[in-house]
Symmetry: C2
Subunit: 440 residues, 2 copies
């Protein structure tokens, strides 16, 4: 039997604690699977004196995670401290430079420094594994890095943020307003006290940037992503979506176009019978399109201690077996600068909801502005506000009537220009709601 | 740059041809990903003179696949001949014994000789990869073998046969009778001229036996599986399923119970909102349950040249990178004999459809027989035969009335005994229809 893989654990929050427990529970199975034990020998955490659910005396405690990363008795470091800066960054850099394999769940750090860290790992011929950084328990990193190596990816898109999907699910299933859905998510611990990072799409964007790099071989670049959150979504939108055969999900989408890689995060209408439309609650899901192949979808728990720890342990098992792949599935030095397809050139169908002023000529004006941009409508519905729960109220003066339109494929630019013109024409109240449609 | 991986391809049917094409198309990408080229140098196929879609003169042609497997200039052999016996078996054995890595799509061979071949591969320290053998383009083998190494599996179940799922989908969506759905599948090439192997569940059973071994570390043993096909399913069942909130799918299920591993293939009622219920047409899907973890589901193309070739190429890419895991994720010598949980002890809900004779005392008799076996009913519906498309005809004498019951969790044994008693009581016509319910 080979020597155990000696692991240093940096960070002992929910995920770190779950890793300790999972390695304990899975000891025999992992030994059989890897041909050697995986053993945590030292831990670095902010408060080593805290009461915890396991016997802490088994482990050596190291105050500074960077010192842990340098410790010559350790083969691999698990970084679950979090955050795009130090000490997480220096911990990982120090471990890699010292020839130790690293497992991390740190999406923020990878989104910012992914390529540099990968180059460092490759230079020192050690593994840098990060299954836990995207979609928790779903093995999407391994799937893109190894499992679908035969495929030429054309699009990868999915539900990468459980908080948003939980809120949208509650809104749709129970008729909660956005604010109530958010409050409920906070009560259950699915949303932070300050939920901005999740609900405005930034968490999804970081994860998408990692998946896009794995799929397309481009440098990780979250700044190349167009980001829009879900806080503007109303029950009127969800009701309209239902009637029209769609559901609204916050998606991260990376797609190859003639112009380059288009990366975007926004609320999206997905066909009601698509795999992604079925995904409710905090569950995550990713769909991969490849040339000549029917779509492949992975669905599962996106967060939580157990799911994330499961991904960390799988990454450790690969290291214990001596398996090492380039972190992003190809030599990091060959990762290309992303050729960004600008959002104005995005092409697709659009859902547009307006509050039209109820006076002569309004319909004609809107129709003319759309026609000027060569936008054709698949459907148009003028709704009585009373007919729909939580629909936007009719204007105070009783003058505004909701109008819902679905366009055929057009460009972002055309939609923006048409709606700007309609606003200038003063035939609508407030801002139009625009939701992009993603076909499967 | 390292030497190319030199591949010998044994078999040039749909899959073999797609492998040649995919390696051509993906040359640059694979070179970048693996750090070396993957190059087919020799091919063995039954008729080397046949006209094909690619330039055949590039390859050396070897008549005998076993000679190909011995060829010292070859590093890895792809076996896509098929069949549980020779020449596929001898080809793989010869290649492994000669220290060559093997990639195979051969579920029949693995189901019968999986452990022996894995032991041979491990003895010679070479890879034996078989992603393509189960669920085509879905990377479920890698996911169970590596991606979810942190998890302790409790159940694995899924739609593993596209032919059956296509037929059931057509029946449900278009109201076709089973025979018409089958004929349609044959016309489209989704079903063989002799469809028995698919529709009676044997194909699913072979695949399930491989997944069960990967998940539970047991020897591959298709004979430990209870198998029932879909040919008895009628539109009356699908209509009743819809009304009751279910869909009918042919599932392969392997589940850990107190008695051992229960493995079964049968038509199954799955809740309409479950991930598996959404899977229509020839698509495959597998759900994995692990302790303390929300379910993980993988959905994608289950068969076809492109999807299968994609899996073969991913397996080759791992070999090119020098990655090698035990074929079944743990040393094959440690794979245990399956402790088979007998089907009589299966516990779960049941859908039962009877044709009850319309005379005094029938209902009381049926109720008494169920009560004697301690079976409680969640619902009971007595239907007018005319109310439902394609429902079983009323008895010739006008006497039989369809009765549909859903039981609470009970045992297979209890259901069988109760229904045998009801038949002896002569209160029903024909055989009762029984469909097991699988909760998610």
């Amino acid at each position: 039997m080979a020597e155990p893989l000696k692991v240093g654990l940096a960070g002992l929050g929910t995920v770190g604690t779950a890793v300790v427990q999972l390695l304990d529970q899975g000891r025999e199975k992992l030994l059989a699977r890897c041909g050697r034990a995986i053993q945590i020998v030292a831990i670095s955490a902010r408060s080593s004196g805290k009461k915890r659910d396991f016997d802490q005396s088994r482990f050596r405690w190291v105050g500074d995670p960077v010192a842990l990363a340098r410790d010559p008795s350790i083969d691999a470091v698990v970084e679950v401290i979090g955050g795009a800066g130090d000490p997480a960054k220096r911990t990982i850099e120090t471990a890699l430079a010292a020839g130790k394999a690293v497992v991390t769940a740190n999406k923020a750090l990878l989104a910012r420094h992914g390529q540099k860290l990968a180059i460092l790992a490759e230079r020192h011929r050690v593994a840098l594994n990060f299954e836990a950084s995207v979609a928790g328990g779903i093995p999407i990193v391994k799937t893109l890095r190894e499992g679908l190596n035969g495929a030429s990816f054309s699009r990868i898109y999915g539900i990468l943020n459980g908080t948003c999907n939980y809120i949208l699910s509650r809104m749709e299933q129970d008729g909660l307003a956005f604010a109530d859905g958010l409050r409920d998510a906070q009560r259950l611990g699915y949303a932070e006290a300050d939920p901005t990072f999740d609900i405005e799409g930034h968490d999804t964007a970081q994860k998408l940037s990692i998946l896009a790099s794995l799929a397309f071989g481009t440098k990780v670049d979250p700044h190349a992503i167009y980001v829009e959150g879900i806080s503007s979504i109303t029950l009127a939108d969800l009701d309209a979506a239902r009637e029209l055969g769609y559901r609204v999900k916050l998606l991260g989408v990376a797609v190859k176009t003639a112009q380059g890689i288009e990366q975007r995060v926004h609320p999206t209408m997905v066909p009601r019978d698509s795999a992604l439309a079925q995904v409710m609650g905090v569950t995550n899901a990713v769909t991969v399109d490849a040339e000549g192949l029917a779509p492949i979808t992975l669905v599962g728990p996106g967060a939580g201690g157990a799911a994330t720890a499961c991904a960390v342990v799988a990454d450790l098992a690969d290291i214990a077996r001596g398996v090492r792949t380039s972190p992003f599935g190809r030599p990091a030095a060959l990762m290309t600068v992303i050729r960004k397809a600008p959002m104005q050139h995005h092409e697709g169908g659009y859902y547009i909801r307006l509050l039209a002023r109820d006076r002569p000529g309004t319909a004609a004006t809107i129709a003319r502005r759309l026609a000027q941009q060569k936008i054709s409508l698949e459907s148009i519905v003028q709704r009585h506000a009373a007919g729909s729960r939580g629909a936007a109220q009719p204007g105070r003066s009783g003058e505004a009537v909701p109008v819902i339109m679905i366009t055929y494929a057009t460009s972002e630019d055309a939609v923006r220009k048409a709606l700007a013109a309609v606003r200038r024409d003063r035939v609508i109240s407030g801002r139009p709601q625009v939701i992009r449609i993603e076909k499967n």
